[in-house]
């Protein structure tokens, strides 16, 4: 297993909700397992690279367009910048990127395009869905985010969720097979090992 990219819109010091802490715990756990990891995230500063240890590289992307009128327009121009940063990593590392693990919906377009353009498979780790954050919302913005979530679920190679109920909701609502969604509760002691197992499943196509 070499060089997964973890793609998240939150990573310390940018902390908005629980996502930043979860991804930090994940990268710490992967480092302990001797897995070299690239984190690509966003930060309102010029694009820069932060080598935090021999096994952990953090890449900050900043939005090339300022200002924005909505979270969708903000997110989608940032996706193109994420594509630039990940493509640069990909070519610099002579294609040695096994997979991308994206956390929630923000970078689904980039992950989909990188998979189609460069053949990098991706895992969609779902912490929450728009329908859970804003139950019953039919606003165009919510519908748009739900559309992106559907795209991510359809295009990803594997979906990771935290609970059985969420798995059930995803498989029923999106009509995807049960075995495309796996449940890894981050409260379980072996969650890093299970996450790694899922990475291997995607990177090596089940080998």
């Amino acid at each position: 297993m070499s060089n997964p990219i973890i793609l998240t819109w939150e990573y310390p010091p940018r902390i908005i909700g629980d996502l930043a802490h979860h991804v930090e715990n994940l990268t710490t756990g992967l480092s302990k397992a001797k897995i070299p990891v690239y984190v690509v995230t966003c930060h309102d500063a010029p694009y820069q690279h932060d080598k935090r240890s021999d096994l952990l590289d953090v890449y900050w992307t900043s939005n090339p367009v300022v200002p924005h009128i909505s979270v969708i327009t903000w997110c989608l121009s940032l996706n193109s910048e994420v594509e630039r940063v990940i493509s640069d990593i990909f070519y610099d590392k002579s294609r040695k990127i096994d997979l991308i693990d994206i956390h929630d919906w923000h970078f689904i377009p980039a992950s989909t395009s990188l998979k189609r353009a460069l053949g990098i498979p991706f895992i969609f780790t779902i912490h929450s869905l728009e329908s859970q954050r804003f139950p019953g919302s039919t606003s165009p913005l919510s519908s748009c985010i739900q559309g992106l979530e559907s795209l991510g679920i359809a295009e990803s190679d594997l979906v990771i969720t935290k609970t059985d109920s969420m798995k059930n909701e995803i498989t029923v609502n999106h009509g995807i097979p049960q075995d495309k969604v796996i449940v890894i509760p981050p409260t379980e002691p072996n969650w890093i090992r299970d996450t790694l197992k899922s990475y291997r499943r995607v990177a090596f196509k089940g080998v």
Binding site: V66, I69, L76, S77, N79
Partner: protein, 396 residues
Amino acid sequence: MLTPNVLMLSWEYPPRVVGGLAPHVYELSRALAKKGLEVHVATCDFPGAKAEEVIDGVKVHRIDSYSYPTPDFATWVAMMNVNLQRELSSIIASNNISLIHAHDWLVANAAIGLKHMFRIPLVATIHSTESGRRGGVHNDYQRMISSTEAWLTRESWRIICCSRFMANEVTSTLGVSEHMIDIVPNGIDPDPFNTLFNREEFRARFADTNEQLVLFVGRLVQEKGVSNLVEATSLLRDLNIKFVIVGEGYLKEELIRRVKELGLSDKVYVTGFLDQDTIRGLFRTADACVIPSIYEPFGIVALEAMTGGAPIVTTGAGGLGEILKQDKTAVFVYSTRESIAWGIRKILTNQQYADYLRRQAQLQVKTFRWGTIASSTLGTYTRIMLEYTQGKWKPF
């Protein structure tokens, strides 16, 4: 290697025609294909239009752009780019695309992402800027578009503008170095203007035999100066003129109301949308064509009037001042009703002068054939490919 396989990205392409972008991309892509280039055009889908087709050697890909509900135009544009990008990876890979050509900010997200993922150069044509269209940027919506335009120019190997006026605007509002810009004008295909045509019969659809026909063609928006033309009509009551105003836009109802107020409803005909054949017929029939623009990056309507043989009255705004010459191919006027009326009167009351303008314009317009424009564009492509070939930024 120096002759690239080109992928053009444009949100407009026939049958979706919103402004001048669609005909530009249609004609340029055909002219480049005629020169032997492999040219693909990626655009949005359109009801009734084929998802894939080959038009005069150009491979057209119309990509689903309406899958997601969106709250506003800018968000729709962003989602359209998601769809474009998702589908274009396989098209780039399977057709050995070696150059991406983006037209305007609306395709920036997709074009820039694809450039980096495939490490192939990007060239952008900036047809107009948000600042120019709005007379400055006044709110966050406009600032976002302007910032996207700046980003697209930063990411482009070279930038194409259709006039010196536009090049200056791109330099001053988007911070682009002048040496990054190539000026390649718009072009025109004269063939559709040379079809068999019963002038008198056609003319009778719009004007009485004793009326002179004065034409305006363009979007009915503030920047086109059409309100000044409507005001000028009231100063020309002594001449027997039928004014034909062709186009759609947010000013349409206001213009019709104003014409009524002036008591000129029988003399000013606001037609709304007309098909291209009818518009060409009007250019071939009109005794004068008025182009009263306040902002005009290029002014393709001038090429159409020149080709059709309609003597031109114009403010010479923006690119119009580079295409036309005072007292040689047009009458230049100020953006006031008095000056516009003076220009129209000058043409309509001096047949010899009108004929001179018509003849000179028809000679001058020959330099704007699409074959010539494609050659200039190819020059930009070749320069980019040469620099790219010599550089280190490549997939491997």
